[in-house]
């Protein structure tokens, strides 16, 4: 019995030492930002490090047949894995042309030599003593970081509850503009693409799916400016400076502000005169470079090249906006908020395939082969449907307009008139309202404002340029 407890103690100390060392980086990042983030944001990374730590412990213990020695080796290995980037930076100070694939194998070989040497030279009882020291030091470090973080965590929760209570007012309005997004009809007729699931998911969520909506022309500036003006104020004869002037404090914004709405931009909305929440410096819980807690943790590890973002800036703007809309923490239901999202998607450049993977740059503007527009369209719709379902679930009293300005313009198989056929899916608090099916985006917005604020807008006769 005594012998058994004597064997168990080194095992427990070893497990604790490796466990504490493994989760420390995630706990440290969380504790430093406890007022801005939840532990769930770093929990998966903490779990990953823990698994790596214990896997290393098991392998080394099998090789050395000494759990305490294995714990020391595993702890050093975990520290190497989680702080690899620092080592690479130091090496590159001396050898600037050294790459990841040079440094990693050399470090691994050196670590193996170090472990063999340590295991041979250390006297029998020393590994257990060292493991105990590691365990206590790591436990101390965790405690030092965790104790001051608890009040911050509580404060964050209280602030969020208060924000919801203070702002609870009118229904939120989400208007998502997908530039160059074809209607379901266009996709069926000219891309031979029919996905009834997409349409069904919109309808099941309570959306009105308009099959025959057309806008006045194929120019984004004109169509969106007219929507903001709630009239056909912008015409093709005007200059782009005149269109821009019409977007300064337009009637749509005025109407919303008169009803106590706040204006919020997502994606590329600077040209629509609304600050975007997804420009990197404004993303809550992110650094000025737009990095979240997970990015900060992974970018220091040996796995950093596999998680590093190496897409173009254009792709990054789109992904940030989509991810932002996907996160319910960024929205407060029924808070009289107007969210205007503009995404240059599925507009060229064709950056994503249907699964969101990068497309070869030589095909960024390839309209000749329809697979590139189609791939980006499918990816955009997959993400947007998921976002629409999330909004309906979290904010069922809201109004959502998902529409495009025009269809795919550079597909020569599509006649000009059909290029102005647009996507228009509207959700109005789960209700069915008239005048959406077959309406232009402009008329749909007028109908929605009538429903919400009783504005008395008449239906405008369709213009075509």
């Amino acid at each position: 019995m005594e012998k058994k407890s004597g064997e168990l103690k080194p095992l427990i100390i070893s497990l604790l030492a490796v466990g504490f060392a493994s989760v420390f980086p995630a706990v440290f990042i969380f504790c430093q930002n406890a007022d801005e983030m939840r532990f769930s944001e770093v929990a998966s990374i903490a779990g990953l490090f823990l698994m790596i730590g214990y896997a290393l412990l098991a392998i080394i213990a099998l090789l050395t047949r000494n759990i305490s020695s294995a714990a020391i080796d595993a702890t050093v290995s975990v520290l190497f894995v989680s702080n690899y980037k620092l080592i690479q930076k130091l090496v590159c100070l001396v050898l600037p042309d050294a790459k990841y694939w040079h440094i990693v194998p050399v470090c691994v070989v050196l670590l193996i030599f170090l472990f063999v040497l340590l295991n041979k030279k250390m006297r029998d009882d020393l590994p257990y003593d060292v493991t105990k020291i590691i365990c206590f030091v790591m436990a101390g470090l965790l405690a030092i970081n965790l104790i001051p973080a608890f009040p911050k965590m509580h404060q964050q929760r209280a602030e969020k509850v208060n924000a919801r209570a203070e702002n609870a007012e009118g229904p939120n309005i989400y208007w998502i503009i997908l530039d160059e997004c074809a209607s379901f009809k266009t996709m069926h007729n000219y891309y031979q693409y029919t996905d009834t699931t997409m349409r069904n998911r919109f309808e099941s969520a309570g959306f009105i799916v308009s099959e025959n909506s057309y806008n006045e022309c194929g120019n984004t500036d004109i169509v969106v400016t007219n929507c903001l003006n709630l009239s056909y104020a912008a015409t093709p004869e005007m200059t782009s400076a005149e269109w821009a002037a019409l977007r300064i404090n337009p009637p749509l914004y005025q109407t919303l502000m008169e009803h106590g709405y706040s204006l919020n931009g997502i994606g590329d909305t600077a040209w629509l005169n609304i600050d975007s929440a997804t420009t990197s410096e404004k993303m809550e819980g992110h650094t000025v470079e737009g990095k979240g807690a997970k990015d900060l943790l992974l970018e220091n590890t040996i796995f950093y090249p596999f998680f590093q973002y190496t897409g173009t800036e254009a792709a990054s703007i789109l992904q940030n906006a989509l991810d932002y809309m996907d996160d319910s923490n960024n929205f407060v239901p029924d808070s009289s908020s107007f969210y205007l999202t503009y995404l240059c998607l599925p507009h060229q450049p064709f950056l994503f395939d249907k699964d969101g993977n990068a497309v070869s740059p030589s095909n960024y503007n390839n309209w000749d082969d329809p697979q590139y527009y189609l791939g980006q369209y499918i990816y955009a719709m997959k993400r947007i449907i998921a976002i629409a379902e999330r909004i309906v679930r979290d904010d069922p009293n809201s109004v959502i307009v998902i529409g495009s300005d025009h269809g795919p313009r550079f597909n020569n198989a599509i006649p000009y008139a059909e290029k102005t056929s647009v996507l228009l899916n509207v959700y109005v608090q789960g209700r069915k309202i008239d005048n959406i099916d077959g309406a232009s985006t402009l008329n749909a917005l007028r109908s929605i404002l009538n429903t919400l604020f009783d504005c008395g807008y008449e239906k405008l006769e369709a213009e075509t340029w």
Binding site: K99, W101, T310, P361, Y364, N365, N366
Partner: protein, 180 residues
């Protein structure tokens, strides 16, 4: 007297050391062979002959970094031509600022109907493949300073090279435009 076990260990260590050294010497090439990026080649600027005037613009130059230290170019370039240009391609050339030695990467023309639309009335421009959309690895480009040229080959008769008046600096893992 060295024991048999020790001598075996020593031979093992020497073999491993040699294998590691060989790997390290060719590691860049080995790793790049796993990427889908176009190959950056070494050469001399004189191999790209001057012919016709090149009309060009650089829309975007972006350091993407990552494991393969990627750089991304977006722009367009063309020479006037009377004959077909189905196999049109462009070459992005980084010439060492102190010599004629250069590193270059070939890229096929990409679809840019807007370029044709703007220039069709002013120049003898053919087709729509005037875009340059290229991502390449800068791993094999050594640290130093480089001038940026673009060579365009419409066909065997019509080609040209142009100095983009841009200067790049390769420093460690970074490749940046000194004009920024």
């Amino acid at each position: 007297m060295v024991s048999k076990k020790s001598s075996k260990l020593l031979i093992g260590l020497i073999v491993c050391g040699i294998a590691l050294s060989v790997y390290l010497a060719f590691a860049n090439r080995i790793m790049l062979s796993f990427s889908e990026l176009p190959e950056v080649q070494e050469g001399n600027i004189s191999q790209f002959s001057t012919g016709r005037e090149v009309h060009k613009a650089l829309d975007r130059g972006e350091w993407l970094g990552g494991l393969f230290e990627k750089y991304y170019f977006q722009g367009w370039a063309f020479c006037e031509t009377d004959t077909g240009n189905e196999g049109k391609y462009a070459v992005l050339i980084f010439k060492n600022s102190n010599s004629d030695h250069c590193y270059y990467v070939e890229t096929p023309g990409s679809f840019r109907p807007d370029v044709y639309g703007v220039f069709k009335d002013r120049f003898n421009i053919r087709g729509n493949m005037h875009g340059i959309e290229c991502q390449f690895s800068t791993v094999t480009i050594p640290s130093g300073e480089y001038d940026f040229f673009v060579y365009v080959k419409e066909n065997d008769q019509d080609y040209g090279i142009v100095d983009m008046n841009m200067h790049f600096v390769k420093r460690g893992a970074e490749f940046v435009s000194a004009n920024n």
